[in-house]
């Protein structure tokens, strides 16, 4: 069969809502687009551990600390699921991580903002995980099987992230005047970056149309953004906090994407350092396993 015929059959399968699996024929463009999107998604989960991770030692109570550790651990898990799903497309995780560390791969711009107060951890859970859920739920029906299945698993875990964030905001909003102000400050800081998580306006979104045709994407950036606002505004009202007035500064969005956000350098540096410092562990574990190959199987039997 020639490529045109294969492509036609591929699109017919997509139109019939069939799932595409790793060994099925797929157009190069589809494969490349998925690798790009899924790797960016995986990187975002991993880099996303950093802004919250830096509050684990300073969480106000033991309960909050245990919860935050569980959440950050989940995000590491999400990264692992997604790297695994991306590898089914014929790339290696090692190569993807190299691209991230070299600064040539993108991740969500939201993680380049700082977390100066404990309320920022509440705002991240509520708004950032909330926006992520809005983006991710339609991906559970994405045409690529391994991506869709990873997203089902991830979405099951995300709900806890959003609720623990709102719970932090609730405690602060019901607290002292200083705590309420801290909560409002965090909402002010995270509101616009959270809205930017849905990506550029539809008119400027260069990958959207093809992505919709391939059923990788099912709603446009603006549709999802609107729905998020609709859900979130009453939640802010319940907290007695006010949503900032104004419009999205797309200039800021593009600057952060270009690497000029408040924490871009710091985040990548932290990842590089962690990767370098863990290098000897990865090497040693592999050397040990090679020396004792199949030892475990024999021990079990």
């Amino acid at each position: 069969m020639d490529t045109a015929a294969l492509e036609e059959r591929f699109q017919a399968r997509i139109d019939a809502d069939e799932r595409i699996e790793p060994k099925d024929w797929m157009p190069d463009g589809y494969r490349r687009a998925l690798i790009r999107q899924m790797a960016q998604h995986a990187h975002s989960e991993i880099v996303g551990m950093l802004p919250e991770g830096n509050w684990i030692t300073r969480a106000p109570t033991l309960k909050r600390k245990a919860i935050l550790m569980a959440k950050v651990q989940d995000e590491g898990g999400h990264g692992a699921y997604l790297y695994g799903a991306t590898e089914t497309l014929g790339v290696t995780r090692a190569a993807l991580i190299e691209e991230l560390l070299a600064g040539s791969a993108k991740y969500s711009s939201i993680f380049n903002y700082p977390t100066p107060t404990w309320a920022d951890i509440g705002a991240i859970g509520w708004l950032v995980d909330g926006a992520a859920i809005m983006n991710q739920i339609p991906l559970c029906r994405c045409s690529y099987g391994p991506y869709a299945r990873a997203m089902v698993r991830i979405c099951k875990e995300e709900s806890f992230h959003q609720r623990q964030g709102y719970d932090i905001m609730l405690a602060l909003a019901r607290g002292t005047e200083a705590q309420r102000r801290m909560a409002q400050g965090a909402l002010d800081r995270w509101w616009w970056p959270a809205l930017m998580m849905f990506g550029p306006p539809d008119a400027e979104s260069k990958h959207s149309a093809q992505s919709m045709r391939w059923k990788v994407k099912r709603f446009t950036n603006d549709e999802l953004r609107e729905r998020f606002i609709e859900f979130t505004v009453p939640q802010a009202e319940y907290l007695g906090l006010s949503i900032p007035q104004g419009t999205i500064d797309w200039n800021e969005f593009h600057e952060v994407l270009r690497g000029n956000g408040p924490c871009n350098r710091e985040r990548l540096e932290a990842r590089r350092r962690a990767h370098q410092n863990g290098g000897w562990v990865r090497e040693a574990a592999l050397a040990y396993a090679e020396k004792h190959r199949s030892g475990y199987r024999e021990a079990v039997q």
């Binding site: 875990e157 990865r282 396993a289």
Partner: protein, 96 residues
Amino acid sequence: MTESRDWPLYEVFIRARGGLDHKHVGSLHAVDARMAIEHARDLYTRRQEGISIWVVRSEEIVASDPADADAFFEPARDKVYRHPTFYDIPDEVKTL
């Protein structure tokens, strides 16, 4: 940062509850089977999603070829008489 040698890939199968089959849940990298099982516990059963884990090196899995699926599964297609609904049994006949 130039290393591109990763730990081997394992596929993970989990039995969610007694009485159920092990089901494929995803993959992970580990240096050996013992580490794969421990990592699978940390990665795939953080909320008590399983009571038993199998792991197997991904490269050990042999799969049928999706490109040949039509021809490969064709022999079963015209054998509708293998299904109970193929047979018309009069209403008067019970418990059959």
